[in-house]
């Protein structure tokens, strides 16, 4: 291995700064969980509107999905942090300023609500019509059919695809450093600016992301396949 390569894979800096880096990691996880929960809830709502009976809400759902999925995360985050408060402020007639953490969570939740909405919609549409009709034939209410017959199947069926989305989302949290949210990437940049060694630090960060994602994905996978084995024999 050449000197250069040795430098890239020399992770001693990572150990040396583990305290701040760990703090950053916690922040990353915080941003991730907050925005993931929001995105899931929002995505579910939008998906239900999309398959629902009200044409205007359906149209809004389509619009929401397309804009959310297609907006680059980077621009979305800057926009939410700087432009959105201006607009909202104008409406309520008062100067507004968002805490960067909330801006980040709002932006990520918005972008990924589009992805989740699509995932859920695909799942809802994949539930055989007959299952719904069976519920109707027994006189079950529309809400009960949705919550008791449709969604449990959707959630379990869409688990693999959602895993993909969770992974993207977790990785996407690394851009919140753009608005100075002190996540793992932010800390890495800070250390790198002081040590002037970006490569080993970024490499270490990538490994951290990898290990976390790998463990989480494996756990989800084994959970979902156990469930599928039970229900789909």
């Amino acid at each position: 291995m050449s000197d250069n390569l040795r430098e890239v894979f020399d992770l001693t800096l990572f150990g040396e700064y583990r305290a701040v880096l760990l703090k950053g990691l916690w922040m990353s996880l915080g941003v991730f969980t907050s925005s993931a929960v929001l995105a899931l809830a929002l995505g579910l709502g939008i998906a239900l509107l999309r398959v629902g009976r009200r044409p205007w809400l359906r149209r809004y759902a389509i619009f929401h999905t397309e804009v959310a999925r297609n907006a680059p995360d980077y621009i979305m985050i800057v926009w939410v942090h700087f432009v959105l408060p201006l607009l909202v402020g104008k409406v309520i007639g008062q100067r507004l300023e968002f805490n960067p953490f909330y801006s980040a969570v709002i932006a990520l939740a918005f972008v990924y609500s589009g992805y989740f909405a699509e995932t859920f919609r695909a799942g809802i549409e994949a539930v055989p019509r007959g299952h719904i009709e069976a519920g109707q034939a027994l006189g079950m209410s529309a809400r009960r059919i949705t919550w008791r017959l449709v969604l449990p199947q959707v959630v379990r069926r869409m688990l693999p695809e959602s895993t993909n989305q969770f992974i993207s989302m977790f990785k996407a949290t690394s851009i919140v450093s753009l608005i100075a949210v002190p996540d793992l990437m932010y800390q890495v940049q800070m250390v790198s600016a002081q040590e002037m060694k970006p490569m080993p630090l970024y490499t270490g960060a990538a490994l951290v992301y990898f290990v976390i994602v790998f463990c989480a994905a494996t756990a989800l996978q084994s959970f979902s396949s156990r469930w599928r084995a039970k229900v789909y024999a």
Partner: protein, 224 residues
Amino acid sequence: MNNWQRMVWDQRELFLQGFSVTLQVCGVAFVCALAGGLLLALLRVRVALLRPLVIFLIEFFRATPVLVQLLWVNYVWPELFGWPNTFFTAACVALALQSSGYLAETFRGALEAIPRGQFEAAGSLGLSRTRTFLRIVLPQMLLDAAPSIGNQFTVIVKSSALVSVIAVPDLMFESQKLVNRWYEPIEILTATAAIYIGFIFLMSWGLARVAGALRRRFGLAMNN
């Protein structure tokens, strides 16, 4: 409003120039990602010997931030493998790697969803394995995976906004340059976002139309 004229409309050539680079990077990366994803999926399903390695690779590509992939491919790979030697190639490769990880899983899902009977019908008629794959399996896989493939395209385009860290002058780079010229990010970034959103929307809409048309043609559209 004057700002829009001066910073966006008058700069359309720069925007266009950056957009054309984005287009090239995404195009090449997308094609490579499709091929790579397919290859990984097949290796994973068919070659038991390589399975652990392939799973590791897939997860590795999926799970590492694309920024780091860009840095690695551009700065570390040349030393390890003597390739790639231009920034542009490195950008394409890095983007393709990430998406091929995702697509490998998508393709695996699609492959496993093809009814056994489809293979058996081909086998019972004596079709060769290659022919069976190309003619019977692949078209059905692509059709089945079309929505996820569309999704992946949006991911590539969005990730491509990072390629300028390895000096590829894409749309994002040009728009940053304009931001640095006037320190007026709002109009410029909004315009940039509009271009990205419009482009991605057009592409995924087109793809969905094609897939929908095919499904309708095959009479598969109105199942449940």
